[in-house]
């Protein structure tokens, strides 16, 4: 087992794109953890008189003739590297703190939705028959609900707020996990050593969690990594529709929404918050892609 792990790691590290993805993810996690240290301002601090400042406010580039050097001079106005939003809040600080919401929703909702989906998939796949039918038809029912609409209706029913986003995003992720795990379970349960364990008198619960689940882990981890990317996108989409976390806390989607109104006069708000979402999601996708290749070389093409 240890040898296998090593090989996976080696293959992963050889894949440059996966490493870039991993770096983006790690940077993101660090930014989220160190937000209070990194953010130049309190992300909720308003300065109503200095709203919609352009990026680079407070920094002046000027050219001295004798030396030919470009100098950066900082005068007494406050520096806003990425400018300010419509309430005069520092955009950089808001984006830094916004990473917390994205990652939290990404990880926690995949943890919850993934666990529930996995358990349902294991049960459906293992027991088969009526149990399988009931569970999977219900999953199909959830799946047939266009997921954006499902998320919107759930958020409208639950009300805005971080907890509710996590619940809504968890729920829309359940059917995907259930399907994947069920498919794997169907294959794994026919394997010889499962049969052997069964004939040695192992209980169903033990069979499911000690023998079948570990064998589903590889695709599950890949799917979960990609799922985090999807969950971050879902959170941003919900916040963008005004169904996200409560103000004044920043989330990338809500910053994006706030900026939409000022797209023509202050496009930096929308631009930078969107780039944050794009790069984070890209990071998880790159990493997940690499992970898939590393875990299953047969799939690498």
């Amino acid at each position: 087992m240890g040898l296998k792990k090593n090989m996976v790691l080696q293959r992963l590290l050889k894949n440059k794109l996966a490493v870039i993805g991993l770096v983006i993810v790690v940077i993101n996690i660090l930014v989220a953890l160190l937000a209070p240290k990194l953010a130049p301002y309190d992300p909720t601090h308003m300065d109503l008189a200095n709203s919609l400042q352009e990026p680079g406010t407070g920094i002046h580039f000027f050219h001295t003739d004798d030396t030919g050097f470009h100098l950066i001079k900082i005068d007494d106005t406050e520096i806003h590297l990425l400018g300010t939003d419509d309430f005069g809040r520092d955009l950089l600080s808001r984006i830094v703190y916004g990473s917390r919401v994205s990652l939290l929703v990404g990880f926690v909702s995949i943890l919850i939705g993934g666990t529930l989906g996995t358990v349902l998939g294991l049960i459906a796949g293992f027991y088969g028959g009526k149990i399988d039918s009931v569970i999977m038809r219900f999953m199909d029912g959830l799946f047939a609900f266009p997921y954006v609409l499902l998320a919107i209706t759930l958020m409208t029913a639950l009300g805005t707020g971080l907890h509710n986003i996590i619940i809504a995003v968890s729920i829309i992720n359940i059917p995907g996990f259930a399907r994947i795990v069920r498919g794997e379970t169907l294959v794994v349960k026919e394997l010889d050593y499962v049969e052997a364990a069964r004939s040695l008198g192992a209980k169903n619960r033990r069979l499911i969690f000690w023998h079948i689940l570990p064998n589903c882990m590889a695709p599950l981890i890949v799917y979960a990594t990609m799922g985090i990317a999807g969950a971050i996108l879902s959170e941003a989409a919900l916040s963008f529709l005004g169904l996200g976390i409560k103000p004044p806390d920043p989330s990338w989607g809500s910053i994006l929404k706030d900026g939409q109104e000022y797209l023509a006069v202050a496009p930096h708000i929308t631009t930078f918050s969107g780039l944050s979402i794009l790069f984070t999601v890209l990071g998880f996708n790159l990493f997940g892609d690499g992970l898939r290749d590393a875990l299953d070389p047969r799939l690498k093409q």
Partner: protein, 531 residues
């Protein structure tokens, strides 16, 4: 492998550059004016509206985007002057009110004809039509636009008497609503449910066609009683996106853009071919504080909140491109009941020390937790956020609850909102504001969700409504109502939102109205266009 990471890097850089290029911006502007040219007949005028009407049947309409269109097709018995300061006759030449204020007798004009519809062919208007239309409204309007009407009696061809259930000095204001427009019975019954798609009235323009989601087109009514319209054709075009509407105005696709906002206004001001007209609207936006429950039941806390909020800063931030004036009084500044001397009763500027002292006196030295309830509308959502920050400076920790309208109105009506942000807009008669806000009977309803409970104020409001129809007398009573109400610091007034229209210079004789309704031909105006 090297190639791969280099490529990725260059993609990153390109994206960043794109982001920065796109971020730059500029601004400048000036305005030009022209002399008065001579009236010309003919031509077509296109007005942009932001929402698509669902029906043009007066009794069924629910939104101003529908009444805008209906105003051109239908007439009412009486109407407001264009500046909305006075009620004058329209289909009625004059009227008498009985001493008990229960009977209104109207004399009708003799020169009013219905449009040529499918079922009426330019028939003359009679008193029967008034009776039919108004009783229909009283019975069928879900909005209760004429709920005061008991019955209408036809005295002769040209005279009709309206009998009320109880005295109501604001009754005439009700009659000015396009929802109480006069319709022809034959058409309503002939079309049945489809009447809303095929309206026939007596107004300045005759309905011609309705391309769903795109436009309503009408042509001039040559026999219009007030004046022969100068325009050949009037088109209402539906453009749901407001910035798109401004673009359409600039490109000349439309002649009048309604509901111009913030950043767009600047764009229009900069355009040589466009006039921008601004008018304080018949509205007031405010934050009401619960007077029955929670810390805000204490007047000192309400005063403290008033001192803690910097309304000027909030209004100039929310409307950084213009579009509103600060409000001080619980009445639109364009209502005839408004008296600017009342403004001095308001807490006008921020004073954190005083706020803290008042909180201390009330026993909330360390502040308290509360909730600001707002509907999911951008302006009020912004104000809520600013309030939250400003209240935090005196230790009041406010949570923001942003709700959809249905939930919001339910919660506020039940008196469950500690602080709520509401916007109120209605007829210019103060009754439609003050009765709704401060009358005891309205406790448990949206307007008075804060439970403003004062017998004296209630009696005064009843008196202003039920004892006289004289506008000056009523204004004096309402002044007293406002003074007594404001003494209790029930709310923090926010702003009067301005109505802004963009008008192409080829359009003449058009003026924006306080109620933000588009009026093309009235007794005072007859819009015309240069070709």
């Amino acid at each position: 492998m090297k190639v791969k990471s280099k490529l990725l890097l260059s993609i990153l850089i390109i994206t960043m550059i794109f982001a920065l290029v796109v971020t730059g911006c500029g601004k400048s502007g000036e305005e030009a004016k022209q002399g008065e040219p001579e009236t010309k007949e003919g031509g077509s005028l296109v007005v942009g509206l932001s929402q698509v009407p669902k029906t043009l049947d007066p009794v069924l309409y629910t939104g101003t985007y529908e009444s805008n269109v209906m105003l051109a097709i239908f007439d009412t018995l009486v109407t407001y002057t264009d500046d909305q300061q006075k009620i004058v006759g329209a289909l009625a030449t004059d009227w008498k009110v009985s001493d008990d204020m229960l009977e209104y007798t109207f004399n009708l004009r003799d020169d009013v004809y219905f449009h040529d519809g499918k079922y009426v062919k330019g028939r003359k208007l009679t008193a029967e039509d008034i009776k039919y239309s108004l009783e229909r409204s009283a019975k069928e309007s879900a909005m209760g636009r004429l709920s005061d009407l008991k019955e209408a009696e036809v005295l002769d061809e040209k005279t009709v008497k309206l009998v009320l259930k109880q005295p109501n000095a604001a009754f005439l204001a009700r009659l000015t609503d396009p929802g109480n427009g006069i319709v022809a019975k034959e058409e309503v019954e002939g079309w049945g449910d489809a009447f809303g798609q095929n309206p026939v009235g007596t107004g300045a323009f005759v309905f011609k066609s309705w391309a769903k989601d795109d436009n309503v087109t009408m042509v001039r009514n040559d026999k219009y009683w007030a004046a022969k319209p100068n325009l050949d054709e009037l088109v209402f075009k539906f453009i749901p996106d407001l910035s798109m509407m401004s673009n359409a105005l600039i490109s000349g696709d439309i002649d009048i853009a309604t509901e111009v906002q913030g950043p767009d206004r600047q764009k229009l001001v900069n355009d040589q071919n466009i006039d921008v007209q601004t008018m304080p609207g018949m509205n007031v936006y405010f934050a009401a504080m619960n007077m029955k429950e929670g810390p805000t039941a204490d007047i000192r806390v309400r005063q403290a909140i008033s001192y803690a909020l910097d309304v000027d800063a909030a209004v100039s931030n929310i409307f950084q491109f213009g579009g509103a004036t600060r409000a001080y009084v619980p009445l639109p500044s364009k209502s005839w009941g408004y008296d600017s001397s009342l403004e001095d009763l308001a807490i006008k500027s921020r004073n954190l020390e005083k706020a803290k002292d008042l909180l201390k006196e009330a026993g909330y030295e360390n502040g308290f937790k509360t909730t600001i309830v707002t509907p999911n509308k951008p302006l009020r959502a912004k104000w809520a956020q600013i309030m939250q920050t400003q209240l935090a400076e005196v230790g009041i920790e406010a949570d923001i609850e942003k709700l959809e309208w249905g939930t919001y109105s339910d919660k506020v009506s039940k008196g469950e909102a500690p602080i709520y942000l509401l916007a109120w807009t209605w007829y210019p008669d103060p009754d439609f504001f003050l009765f709704q806000f401060f009358h005891q009977d309205q406790i448990g309803r949206l307007g008075n969700g804060q439970a403003f409970d004062d017998k004296e104020v209630t009696d005064l409001i009843d008196k202003a409504k039920g004892s006289t129809t004289d506008q000056a007398e009523r204004k004096a009573i309402y002044k007293e109502v406002i003074e007594k109400a404001m003494a209790k610091v029930p709310r923090v007034e926010g702003w009067h939102k301005e109505n802004i229209n963009g008008i192409r210079k080829r359009v003449n004789d058009y003026k924006i109205c306080p109620d933000d309704q588009v009026r093309i031909v009235t007794q005072e105006r007859n819009v015309w266009v240069e070709k």
